[in-house]
């Protein structure tokens, strides 16, 4: 691999790191398909087909949580509207998938998706142009959330909106988008969203091999997203972010542009969230405005805090743990889920603020406010 800048933190790219990173990657990308595909279905070791997209979905959530940890754990930006970037990435993919349906829709209209025929539309709106092509849709998956983050972040960070005020306006942003996408006139399927996909890049989305492919793509996206976040947090910029998280005005007086630094990570984070959304949609088979709901975005923050904020790995672990528990509990005892979620959040805040990963790691390896407490005796 190419030489990394020397400003990277010591040990961030040690052989030990690469060994564990690759081991996890291989376990996820090879073992899951192997147990699903090559082990005979009647064997007890076999991984049933329905689990593959479910695991893929968890990995998309993990990437989403990772993107939030990058800005919340390291730069102190608690976005409670990150679900919006995820949903926008998802909608871009959904639009591509709708165009792939072609004449196989219920109405068999060669020009328009079913919901437009139903609404009596005569021609494709301009913003649907290009979504026939995967490359165009993939570009939009990156550009749309990225540009929204750039504009929103520029306005917010330039005006020095921080802390709880920023969290509130990000909630407002995702809520406003939800209301907008609920409207049929918006041209994105309104309340029902988009579903009944047929193929992606020519492969049938219902085929187990396609689902395995999407799953592996999710593993790769998560792995690359993780390396990207690690590169940023281990760089000197990562140190600037930690510094501005704790003493923002001090960083300004050192001559760093806090606005630029925050805008950079916020945009990177939104792009990662968008990619997560794009991979999520073909695996769950639907995108609708409920993905924008403020509650969804708050849940992402819970995943991160359960796993361990400011650790990157913690975000991934938290997303997988909480969502597995959700899948299991909403089946076993649906009415208890929200109570469990709330309890989890209270417990992580009060009892183990460093999350699951913090409990497992040696305390010295995590930089927290607790480490900063001065022994009172030292003063005299």
């Amino acid at each position: 691999m190419p030489a990394l800048p020397g400003g990277q933190q010591k040990g961030a790219w040690s052989p030990r790191f690469w060994a564990s990173f690759l081991a996890c990657g291989v376990a996820l990308a090879v073992a899951v398909p192997a147990f699903n595909h090559w082990v005979p279905p009647d064997s007890p070791a076999a991984l049933p087909d329905y689990l593959v997209p479910l695991l893929g979905k968890y990995l998309c959530y993990a990437l989403l949580a990772l993107s939030l940890d990058l800005i919340w754990g390291y730069a102190g930006i608690l976005s409670l509207g990150h679900g919006a970037f995820f949903a926008l990435g998802g909608y871009c993919m959904g639009m591509y998938l709708m165009r792939q349906v072609g004449t196989r829709g219920v109405y068999g209209n060669p020009l328009l998706p079913d919901f437009m025929v139903f609404l009596n539309w005569k021609e494709l709106p301009w913003f649907w142009w290009g979504f026939d092509h995967f490359a165009y849709a993939a570009t939009m998956v990156v550009l749309v959330p990225g540009l929204l983050a750039l504009v929103f972040g520029w306005l917010a960070f330039r005006s020095r909106v921080t802390g709880v005020y920023l969290s509130i306006i990000t909630q407002a942003m995702t809520y406003a988008l939800m209301l907008a996408f609920f409207r049929n006139d918006m041209g994105f399927g309104g309340n029902n969203g988009m579903t009944d996909y047929k193929d992606i890049l020519g492969w049938d989305v219902h085929q187990s091999s396609t689902r395995l492919g999407l799953y592996i793509a999710s593993v790769l996206a998560l792995g690359l997203g993780y390396l990207c976040c690690r590169f940023i947090t281990a760089s000197k910029l990562g140190r600037v972010l930690l510094a501005l998280r704790d003493a923002e005005s001090r960083v300004r007086f050192l001559g760093y542009s806090v606005t630029d630094a925050k805008l950079f990570v916020f945009t990177v984070s939104a792009v990662l969230a968008g990619i997560a959304g794009a991979l999520y949609v073909p695996q769950v088979g639907i995108i609708n405005p409920s993905e924008f709901s403020p509650g969804n975005s708050i849940e992402i923050a819970i995943w991160v805090s359960v796993g361990g904020r400011g650790t990157l790995v913690g975000a991934i672990v938290g997303a997988v743990i909480v969502n597995s528990a959700k899948t299991w509990l909403t089946g076993a005892a649906p009415e208890t889920w929200l109570f469990v979620l709330g309890t989890l959040f209270i417990l992580t805040t009060l009892v183990f603020p460093r999350g699951v990963v913090g409990l497992l790691r040696r305390p010295s390896r995590i930089r927290t406010r607790a480490a900063a407490r001065v022994p009172a005796g030292e003063r005299a």
Partner: protein, 252 residues
């Protein structure tokens, strides 16, 4: 009204600066000149406008009227904090504000005179030249042994020195020190005075201070602020015998 023409030669020139907070005039038509290479101490009772003056110079507070010139040309009242910092003005706050979750080394690394751009920071290298400069600064502020410690674990006095070290390594032309010995032991205060006198050899320093013994030990020109304006200026002896200063400090 005074003329807006900046004085030549002066490093810092405040011309008729007024700042009011909801009717209270923190600075009232304040004019002040600091020459290049000077060590200046600023004293004054609480609420005299000392910290507000520093806020105006460093861009934290914008004046309602008046101008602030740096090197005779740059009007600081139009720039933001980062731009002013990059012109060569460094500031030490009243309370030590080091980055507690970063190590002593990393604190100095961020302060090092270097490109501040986001992209350049992301791809920054840690060269041996940079490490040497940090090591030299560590030796000068006496924190070489604490290099790998989180700054939050330092004692109060050590934090003050680290902050001075950050100003030192930032290679500023003008340093503004807000109560650098607040909360220090006598011994730490003495060492800090030595450190400041040492730093003053090759840069301009403005010190705001309450501790008169410390001000005397610096032996520099003193400006007394009162109700947002200059009350007296001169040597420490001149100022301490000044009739109005005695009234303001002791009378009322």
């Amino acid at each position: 009204m005074k003329t807006a023409t900046p004085l030549t030669g002066a490093l810092l020139y405040l011309n008729g600066v007024t700042v009011s907070f909801e009717g209270f005039k923190a600075l009232n038509d304040l004019s002040l000149v600091v020459e290049e290479g000077e060590l200046r101490t600023i004293i004054g009772p609480n609420g005299a406008g000392k910290t507000t003056m520093m806020d105006v110079v460093t861009g934290k507070t914008r004046p309602d009227s008046g101008e602030v010139f740096f090197r005779g040309t740059a009007d600081l009242s139009r720039l933001d904090e980062a731009e002013i910092a990059n012109l060569g003005i460094g500031r030490k706050f009243q309370r030590p504000t080091v980055f507690e979750n970063l190590t002593v080394f990393e604190n100095l690394e961020l302060a090092l005179a270097d490109s501040r751009g986001t992209w350049r920071t992301l791809l920054a290298h840690s060269t041996s030249d940079r490490r040497d400069r940090i090591a030299a600064a560590l030796a000068r502020i006496g924190l070489s042994e604490q290099t790998g410690q989180p700054a939050g674990a330092l004692s109060h006095g050590q934090k003050q020195w680290l902050e001075i070290g950050m100003l030192l390594i930032h290679d500023r032309t003008l340093l503004l020190l807000d109560e650098p010995v607040a909360g220090m032991t006598d011994r730490e205060t003495e060492e800090t005075a030595e450190l400041i006198l040492d730093l003053a050899k090759d840069r301009t320093i403005v010190v705001v201070e309450h501790d008169m013994a410390f001000v005397r030990s610096l032996g520099a020109r003193v400006t007394v602020l009162h109700e947002g304006a200059v009350l007296a200026e001169g040597s420490i002896d001149h100022v301490q015998n000044h009739q109005r200063v005695i009234e303001v400090y002791l009378g009322r």
